[in-house]
């Protein structure tokens, strides 16, 4: 079963409006775990990656469109990778709960790997670029349903 981005947004909306505090969905090849309110379990950060000196500031105004989702923009031009290495598990999947320091992806610039923190708390609602794709400075990487 494949969930579209709209499906995930819809699930998040339903949970948000419900009295549920926690929800797990598991199907073939897909699992979604959502916890409301509390911080939730974060994936381990502290990967052996170094942010280069002078990492540019995040673009000033992440778009906040009417659907209530926020954007994690690319902090630099480079190649977007969802995982640390080919074959490795992605840093985050749709539905993952992230905190400000959670590494969400890598941007590679001339073989220099730069880990990108989420910079906000919430649930990953959309992964915009394909892994291995060129992303420009400020280009949307993830859409996040904000929450603690």
């Amino acid at each position: 079963m494949g969930l579209t981005d709209d499906d995930v947004r819809e699930i998040l909306r339903i949970i948000d409006e419900s009295e549920l505090d926690e929800l797990s969905i598991e199907t073939d090849g897909f699992s979604l775990h959502v916890r409301k309110g509390t911080g939730g379990a974060e994936p381990p950060s502290g990967l052996p990656l170094q942010a280069p000196e002078g990492t540019p500031a995040r673009p000033a105004s992440p778009t906040a469109p009417s659907d209530g989702l926020e954007t994690i923009p690319s902090p630099m031009l480079g190649t977007f990778y969802r995982a640390e290495a080919p074959g490795a598990a992605p840093f985050v999947e749709l539905g993952a709960h992230v905190g400000p320091d959670t590494t969400v992806c890598i941007i590679e610039v001339m073989k220099m790997m730069n880990s990108v923190p989420a910079g906000m708390s919430g649930v990953i609602a959309e992964i915009v670029p394909e892994s291995g794709q060129l992303v420009e400075y400020g280009e949307p990487l993830f859409r996040v349903k904000p929450g603690r």
Binding site: P56, P59, M76, L77, G78, V109, M110, E136, G138
Partner: protein
Amino acid sequence: MRRVFIPNRGEIAVRIVNACHSLGLECVIGASEPDLQGMAAHLADRAVCIGPGPASESYLRDDLVVHAALSTRCDAIHPGYGFLAESPALADRAREHGVTFVGPPTRAMKLAGDKLAARAEAAHAGAPVLPGGEVATAHEARTLAGEIGYPLLVKAAGGGGGRGIKRVSGEDELDDLLSLARSEAAAAFGDSRLYLEKLIEAARHVEVQIAADEHGAVLHLGERDCSVQRRFQKVVEEAPAPDLPDATRARLRESAVAVAERIGYRNLGTAEFIIDARTGEPYFLEVNCRIQVEHPVTEAITYLDLVAMQLQIAAGRRMAIGQDDVSYHGHAVECRLNAEDPSHGYRPSPGTLNLFSVPERPGLRIDTHCQAGTTVPPYYDSLLAKLIGHGSDREHAIDTVLEALEDLDVDGVETNRTLLIGVMGHPDFRAGPVTTDWLERALR
């Protein structure tokens, strides 16, 4: 060569896009965030955002530039002027990854970038250089200064383009200025080497355009006079240099070609000289490894497209012309219209242009990236447009630019238009060549 990456902005990016298209080449602009809305980004086949506004995080990052060029399948990089145009690091990085760098070999760039090495190479090539030399200690400096005589200049080997220069009026100032210059040079250029050079108080700035292909042909395309300057920055340029004796003109051209040959120069470049206005003697200053802001005045009188030549030479083509095919037609004058506030010491005046309308008339060329609605960001140089007048003689060329300046409509930012009109109409300038200190004196 099929697709060219252009990590630059403003009028020169527009100029390179147009040259690419005239040669049937595709081009990709690497723009900073505020420049994504700019004219060059719109005209190019594609634009990618390489970073935020500050150049240190976008246009000055050779890693981002090469990554973007490779990812957009460009096989060449034309750096324009400024930013990384004379960066051996960018040239090396591009070439290591199989991308053609539109510019000279790295070795020539390094020799030209080291002003002391360039001086030595020029002297070896038989070009006239000013009395002077490197000084490692205060004692050496006093000895050499005694031979040269005062006033003199202390210059940084890593400087150039008017940067890293101090004027020493007498021996009592030498020690202090030398140690100040040394610490400034170490901080600004990462190179504390200094040299002394005789100061020519009344000098003209005259430069020779060089073109060299990958097959050993080295040509000159005549000279330009860029003596109208404010704080070492050129304001008005013209070609040919007016009132230059034939022997001096020949000496400049021969010297420029000899220096280019000696340092293995390829592609387009400029050899800069000063001419002692009192004696008429020329002296080599430096080699610039880039297309220059003022290249259109040479284009106007030679009927050549210098940016297209750069691309063709970089693609490995032989130059289609020999020295005897280079001919000169009439006179051309260029004015640099900058977003500057004359009432506050000509400081940059960023903002948004509500109105920008340039006249059209015979003999007038305008190179610009501006139109109504264009934003002039605070991060970069303040050049709005170059107005180039071409006529059968100097007077006609000056009048063409003067009328264009008067007819120009610009609103939203302050500009130096009044200054330019003043220069074009000034009896000193209209009478013939001026010296590099003239404009600041005339402004008082």
